[in-house]
Symmetry: C2
Subunit: 423 residues, 2 copies
């Protein structure tokens, strides 16, 4: 099935009867493509800040969900959504200024070279649009990705998402490389091989934190020679900031900034509207010029008034509550505290800001142990703490809480984790 | 530029200075791919029911926007959105029942053969997912579309959207046919030609009202032999209900129903959440079975709690206010009243429910006159009535108001239209 922490439908009879009823009803209505989290799926009825609550009123510490980035149901975002939904909910073919005010604020968080932004509803749509733009601009088709990348679920995005598993084939013009943390050799070889096959190079795309490749933030700067090489060979550098963006890495608003690069195209999504469907492609204007002149782009819900209102409120809250700074400070404390667990099961602790990875290994061999990681994820769920796992072996615990996560929440999480780890 | 009723940026200096400032600012921030409506773009600050309001408080009669289908800013939808946003906004990997309650209600509006529904955020994503499913199920790549079809803006959806113009190439495995209103011969020939080229047939897809092909509802039933042929030749029938769905055609909830067919896959979107980004693919379970078992589908914002709450409220309002019946009754009155204008400029009046097309022709030759249609659209805009135009020649007035449109609104619209039409 190839999904880390997916519920296995064949185990439905082992669930509590009421939950089993819901899970079966779900399969009947939504079909078999949907996957629940956990061996024992969980049902929430409300959420607030960094906690989610089940029907019995039990609180779960949320150290997983990066979409409600400013906290679940943040009152400022809720208020902005309610107010806008009651006033005007429309599209981008009328000359409203609200979307321009937001675009201006958003672009101000980027280096000045990134001067345009186009709105979609999902990260998948943003990745798909970035590919359309890159292929139009370069006249090429070839795309380079990392070996366990995830970039989305449209046809074109799924074709560059090997982490979806072997039933979703990579595109014929897609080449994979190991995450280039040390050398650009593989990227160089991929471009050579691509050209040898008569495929013109269009773009390199990577999640700036390599989330699905196992969370690889360091050493800061390692993407710089990649970006230089990509440009030298006529391709575009696309930074996938769907996960790292909007302050999560703590040191900057965008994950690419820790690498000292300026991408050609940037895709963003998940935390942008704190759960409201809004995503975007930011671009150097010279990359968009010909595409925009010859190809119109209209996304009915992309940049609609209500989602833009939510996104503007998210920027307000990030600033007002110092959430980027909090990601930096609490993230540092999180890494230190995780490192302090000192278990033979922990191979390495990595992270940037409030995005941490903890490698779970076989204590004897030191080899990645995905099953042990999965057991930990499920065990924490029973202790009402939400995390997941990632990476090609599924052995890296993925800790990625809402940004208002504080030291007390780190203590809660790490205490729960330490309690189930062998020494 | 190939967009009906798109503002031409080279005319920006002719606008009112304040509007010109906004339009320039927009181009600076959003880049050149965005198109505004009208020679004289319009800016709205609020909307309610079937009216939109500019900053001076002027009311515009909305006979164009099909997304706010139950009326702009409908209080029931606004309330549902506000309440849900304040309670829980999450994704489909927790076992919440709310999405199941909605899925059950939605599926109850379909023939019993359509038993599953999968959620996306946009019609483009739904079309893209339907293509993924159809290609996976059939093992084929070939898709048949109509000559001026529009199905969306992802890479795969744009490849089947000739109405986007010559700068967006059709896919190499895409064949076009004229809208099959009379005979299946062209579809038969397309499948033969496709197979002669070694491309296996995967699917036929059409908007059940042929909106971008010029609005072609009649004769009811003409799609039946197409669906039969498509199945016989091993392909799937995909009904694009993004525009016709949710009661707009008046006689039924779904446009395919007037043709007496049961599609394999149905895509829906625009009016589903009255502006909130929610869309879906409904399917015969046997079409989804293998895809779902081998390919997981997760769309972070697809089927999120807030958009589902909006969609449930939309169904409530359609039922409580009898909006499908209203589309039927008011739609009939609209067609009669349009036909009663009796201008030499009007070649034909067609429609189903609250979706009407009026062909504008050269009075002397009877030939399609897209320029005259555009002048009418712009003239109505100056009279504060919103419509647009469609079809391969852009000569078909497109009248597609929110569903609470009443007889008094028809009178307002048709009086304004008649006043600018020659006898």
């Amino acid at each position: 099935m190839n999904m880390v922490n997916g519920f296995d439908m064949s185990a439905v009879d082992e669930l509590d009867p009421e939950l089993a009823r819901i899970v079966r009803r779900r399969a009947d209505l939504l079909g078999p493509a949907y996957r629940l989290f956990y061996r024992n799926p969980v049902q929430f009825v409300r959420a607030e800040g960094v906690y989610m609550y089940d029907a019995e009123g039990n609180a779960y510490l949320d150290a997983y969900n990066n979409v409600p980035a400013v906290g679940h149901c943040h009152p400022k975002v809720v208020e902005a959504v309610a107010r806008q939904a009651a006033t005007l909910s429309t599209h981008t073919r009328y000359a409203t200024e609200m979307i321009l005010d937001y675009a201006e604020r958003l672009l101000a968080t980027f280096p000045p070279e990134i001067g345009n932004v186009m709105f979609t509803c999902t990260g998948s749509e943003a990745v798909d649009l970035a590919l359309r733009i890159a292929r139009f601009k370069t006249g090429g088709e070839g795309v380079i990705i990392t070996e366990n990348a995830y970039h989305g679920v449209t046809t074109a995005a799924a074709e560059i998402s090997p982490s979806l598993g072997p039933s979703v084939p990579l595109g014929r013009t897609v080449w994979t490389v190991p995450p280039p943390t040390g050398t650009t050799d593989h990227v160089q070889a991929a471009i050579d091989d691509m050209e040898r096959h008569g495929v013109r190079f269009a773009a390199f795309i990577a999640d700036s934190l390599f989330s699905s490749d196992g969370i690889l933030p360091d050493p800061a700067g390692f993407l710089r020679p990649v970006a230089d090489l990509v440009r030298e060979r006529g391709g575009l550098y696309i930074a996938d900031e769907v996960q790292p963006g909007f302050g999560r890495t703590g040191d900057a608003m965008w994950g690419f900034q820790r690498h000292g690069i300026i991408p050609d195209l940037v895709v963003m999504g998940k935390p942008m509207g704190n759960g409201m469907p809004i995503a975007a492609v930011a671009a150097r204007p010279e990359i968009l010029a010909k595409f925009g002149a010859q190809v119109r782009y209209f996304n009915t819900f992309g940049g609609n008034s209500v989602c833009v209102a939510a996104a503007a409120a998210v920027l307000d809250v990030i600033e007002a509550e110092g959430l980027q700074e909090n990601a930096c400070v609490t993230g540092q404390y999180l890494l230190e505290t995780l490192a302090g667990i000192g278990s033979s099961r922990i191979g390495a602790v990595r992270g940037a800001g409030l995005y941490a990875g903890v490698d779970i290994v076989d204590p004897a061999s030191g080899e990645p142990d995905g099953e042990a990681a999965l057991a930990i994820v499920n065990s924490l769920r029973e202790r009402r703490v939400l995390i997941s796992a990632t990476g090609p072996y599924g052995h890296t615990l993925k800790i990625r809480p809402p940004l208002p996560f504080g030291a007390q929440h780190v203590d809660h999480l790490v205490t729960a984790l330490a309690a189930i780890m062998p020494r």
